[in-house]
């Protein structure tokens, strides 16, 4: 993450993107995150690719390589196991965000 504030959520973000899109390639994911966050967040390719490889290793993603306009594209998709994990991880992240907000918003007078 470019925005070194929230770490440990990259894997969950990847899974969520693939839940929404059925198949995506790495470079496309970096664009999508930039867009969804209105340019405020940027995943670096150096963090992304190793994370994708790990997810494949763990059996959560499968790949399919294609040549498009002379360039290689390695598409990733969720496996059945990956879909289950996505639900679990997305829910866990949402819960963690809520807790974090409770921590950050307690102790305010009312301004």
């Amino acid at each position: 993450m470019d925005n070194k504030v929230i770490k440990g959520s990259l894997t969950t973000i990847i899974l969520k993107l693939l839940e929404d899109n059925s198949r995506m390639y790495g470079y496309e994911m970096t664009r999508e995150v930039k867009e969804r966050s209105q340019d405020k967040m940027q995943i670096t390719e150096a963090a992304l690719y190793p994370a994708l490889h790990k997810l494949v290793e763990e059996g959560l993603l499968t790949t399919h390589t294609e040549m498009v306009e002379g360039r290689m594209r390695k598409y990733y998709s969720l496996t059945k196991k990956g879909k289950k994990e996505t639900d679990v991880k997305v829910e866990a992240l949402k819960a963690a965000i809520e807790s974090l907000q409770n921590i950050l918003n307690t102790g305010l007078s009312h301004g």
Copy 2:
């Protein structure tokens, strides 16, 4: 963080607690986070103490040790520099959370 979902926010949490309380000791911080998150989050002492020491090193916190009921308590407070940093870091974390939510909530049909 016990909840290994969100990393990198421990320092900001410490600063925020001290913004709300003027002085706190380490053990108290672990209780406060547990309470604010309704037992969903738990900061470990092994993560907390090194983080506190680093913040003192960086000039963001000062300490004052007292004996209370036969036990040592090391109180931490924000320095002037620490107060400024707190504002910066809390705002950055809130913005990051918002971006993260945008990422997680895009692509939903409406169910």
